[in-house]
Amino acid sequence: MKPFALDHAASPDAALAALGKGATAIAGGTNLIDLMKLQIATPERLVSIRRTGLDRIAPDGDGLRIGALVTNADCAADPRVRQDWPLLSQAILAGASPQLRNRATTGGNLCQRTRCGYFYDTTQACNKREAGSGCAARDGFNRIHAVLGTSDACIATYPGDMAVALLALDAVVLTQGPYGPRQIPLAMFHREPGDDPTRDNVLQPGELITAVRLPAPTGGRQIYRKVRDRASYAFALVSVAVDLTMEEGRIARCALAFGSLGTVPWRDPAVEEVLIGQEPSPALFARAAEVLLHHARGFGANDFKIPLAARALAATLAQATKV
């Protein structure tokens, strides 16, 4: 690791002041410290935000407000989360290992970086790590890469699970920054790469995530299905988050989000429109998959993700609509 200066912020305001002077925030550090060891991230100044008091889960109207510093372990184990937003708990527990979840935080998880092997290998071209250097993944080993939302510059996935559940649950990211507070819907938080893959999300310099807000519980059936190379402790090849309500044999309401399929946590309202008001059937699920994957494009080794996503979607919907 390159040497760096470190300060501890005792309040969100102190953290914001440090961020305003160019410091990088560190919370659990489970991703950042690794990136610093590999010199992919080389901040000169860090500000630890663990003691800013943003580590509480509290009711927020009919919803729930999860502080940015709440650990993944605490969030997944919270009785309110398990009762009313089980999708979130399932997704968190499907990710990483218990030892990492004990340190990793809600805000940090949202900001985790891709696991593209070329991003991590500083001898390779990567537009996300070094703008304009090229993309070694397009013609390289791209089995884990995205098939939706890609650009000429980048085909790396957003790798996480938690954000996929939050997207299906219509969560909102609350931030503080130099221009005041912002409420950013999860659907607008992550950025597709376009011609600037270096920025994974819409956070501005000096802006700090303070909390994630969950809206009122839907009471729907919630399932997180993660397909991966081994049964636990692996990143998703494809994941599906569903929150669905049946009424009189038809799908009355449905939210669907997908992980490791796109360059960002993926949600497509057109897929949900296909399903709503219909009686569940394999033909309907196949139609939904067609709409979802209409623009999907593989790069060779990851072509399999397209049929895999269709099957994962059908299996998840079959489970969620079963009487």
Binding site: P3, G29, L100, N102, S232
Partner: protein, 157 residues
């Protein structure tokens, strides 16, 4: 260079030192304190050999800065038993069930299992197995560890 004073309780003893901000807790324990139970395996948070308990929770000491342990309670494999000739009950089970081969990964396995065994409510066998997914063993000596879990959870079947 940014030097920081850190102090924390390590296996019941108060320790302190001056560290660079970039010093990981793992390197501080091994190189500065001489506490070599936590092992440096992958050093990227994947293998679990460096697992220690901070405030009773199993964490990766390779992905934590030493300064982040300031004021906390840290436990390593060295603190498990009462003395050099004694074994912690879970270490005893590892011995009886041949739950290790080369032993490199063992301190990590032990720390995660000790934390789980202390937690309330006590986890069942399936939850313990899931937690051990964060520990890799290159000798693939997993079956013995699973027998340890069976014995640890016998009273909860």
């Amino acid at each position: 260079m940014s030097l920081h004073f850190v102090e924390f309780e390590l296996n019941g003893c108060q320790i302190d030192g001056m560290v660079e901000a970039r010093r990981t807790l793992l390197d501080f324990l091994r190189c500065d304190v001489g506490c070599t139970g936590p092992h440096a395996g992958c050093e990227h948070g994947v293998c679990g050999a460096c697992t220690v308990l901070v405030e009773g929770q199993a964490v990766r000491s390779c992905l934590m800065l030493a300064v982040q342990a300031n004021g906390k309670t840290v436990e390593t494999v060295e603190g498990l038993s009462g003395g050099p000739k004694e074994l912690h009950p879970i270490q005893q089970l590892f011995r009886e069930e041949f739950a290790l081969q080369c032993g490199f990964c063992t301190p990590g396995f032990l720390m995660t299992l000790v934390a789980l065994d202390r937690s309330e409510p006590r986890p069942n066998a399936a939850e313990m197995r899931e937690a051990l997914s964060g520990h890799l063993c290159r000798c693939t000596g997993y079956q013995g560890v699973l027998r340890v879990i069976d014995r640890l959870t016998e009273d909860r079947k």
